[in-house]
């Protein structure tokens, strides 16, 4: 899963302190493995270097200085590019697609459209594999079948998520 752009996407919903950002990340994506604090700040530094976020004021206190981070127009463009670029089907796809769906909903963007785009990409790959099977030897046919069934499993998830999108949207807004 692309943690960097996922964090950037979360910042797209509003400026945030690093600590709060980690909390929001963990709520959606850290169920199995919460994000380490160190990784949050390393990522934020990288995002600033790329011009995708800026520090917008600091709060002095007894402890270390607390900075708030906000997304830049270039950062927003990067998030949109990420959301609407279909992934090459692979075993890591699902977590990325899940992250894109959640971020799109949090941003109030068109999550249904990204699912449609991904569905199109998957179907295109299925057509390629189906054509490869025509007249091929059994070993190639079986290898293509293996890939086809995996892609089909992704498609079922995409269809089910599309059917549950309004429900998920309501949950995201809580």
């Amino acid at each position: 899963m692309d943690n960097t752009t996922t964090l950037l996407g979360l910042l797209g919903t509003g400026a945030s302190y690093g600590y709060d950002l980690k909390g929001r990340y963990d709520r959606w994506f850290g169920l199995k493995k919460p994000l380490a604090f160190g990784q949050v700040y390393t990522t934020l530094t990288r995002l600033m270097r790329n011009g995708w976020i800026v520090a917008i004021g600091a709060e002095a206190g007894a402890g270390p200085e607390r900075k708030r981070y906000g997304i830049t127009p270039a950062g927003r463009a990067r998030v949109l590019e990420w959301i609407f670029t279909p992934e090459v089907p692979s075993e890591t796809l699902q977590s990325d697609l899940f992250a894109k769906t959640i971020i799109a909903l949090l941003l109030g963007d068109d999550a249904g459209r990204l699912l449609d785009l991904q569905r199109s990409r998957h179907m295109a790959r299925m057509r390629e594999l189906t054509n490869e099977k025509r007249g091929a030897g059994l070993a190639v046919v079986l290898a293509c079948d293996h890939a086809l069934f995996h892609i089909e499993a992704d498609l079922r998830w995409i269809d089910l998520t599309a059917a549950r999108l309004s429900q998920l949207q309501a949950e995201v807004k809580k």
Partner: protein, 242 residues
């Protein structure tokens, strides 16, 4: 913010600018308070294979039946070649279906008391072909679909996949320009479904017959040139992939 367009999900690129063989615009159809179709546009060019997919109850079968002139829409038009299908009366639509269209249904719907070859012969006789020639053509189609040894069997003696291939032979025997298939693999296991789809698509391509099929199975849809997704009576995805 500008949206990033990576794949078109809207209208397909026209096939070399040629006019579509079947052209539907603004199709609407309601059953009571249920709107089955809510403004559907679709083009199908000669020889093209289109898969219509979508969840149960999305309107894909209704769309197929409207395109084939079996159902009449409340609003909108369907043009087949130079004929406005939606302006024809029932007799005119029946005639067009018999002359130009072929049909394959989920359960084959072969006539149970007739052999495979007789099932394939019937539409040829209805189209005015002489009995001997009709029989010859029916045998040829069954042979082409790998069913030569089944030609004298009754539908009840055939496997699901064989019966469905007989249905494909019956649909293509009159060399229609359009074939409509409603869930053609819906009652078959994976292997039989594959055999039927290979037979259907290869035979249709050889005959330059356009195919519009509905399916809920992505592996069946992957035999088509492109897919349209129907949700809540509207097409949400339809792109050019060739």
């Amino acid at each position: 913010m500008n949206k990033v367009e990576t794949i078109s999900t809207s209208a397909r690129a026209p096939e070399g600018g040629s006019a579509p063989l079947l052209r539907a615009r603004g199709l609407r159809l309601a059953f009571g308070l249920t709107e089955a179709l809510r403004g559907v546009d679709l083009d199908c060019h000669a020889g093209e294979i289109i898969a219509v997919t979508g969840p149960s109850g999305s309107g894909k079968s209704t769309l197929l039946h409207v395109l084939a002139g079996v159902l009449v829409p409340d609003e909108g038009t369907v043009d087949y070649d130079t004929v406005r299908l939606t302006d024809l009366n029932e007799t005119g639509r029946s005639r067009l279906r018999l002359d130009k269209f072929g049909f394959v249904f989920q359960y084959g719907q072969l006539l149970p008391d007739l052999t495979a070859v007789d099932n394939v012969t019937i539409p040829l006789l209805l189209a005015g072909v002489k009995r001997r020639e009709a029989r010859r053509r029916a045998d040829s189609w069954l042979d082409r679909l790998g069913l030569a040894e089944c030609s004298r069997k009754l539908p009840g003696q055939l496997s699901g996949g064989q019966a469905q291939r007989v249905a494909v032979a019956r649909a293509l025997a009159t060399t229609p320009t359009m074939l409509f298939a409603d869930e053609p693999t819906g009652s078959l296991d994976s292997l039989a479904a594959e055999t039927v789809m290979l037979a259907l698509t290869e035979a249709a391509r050889d005959a330059n017959t356009a195919v519009i099929l509905t399916t809920h199975d992505p592996r069946t849809a992957a035999y088509a040139d492109w897919e349209v997704v129907v949700r809540d009576g509207q097409i949400t995805v339809g792109g050019a992939y060739r």
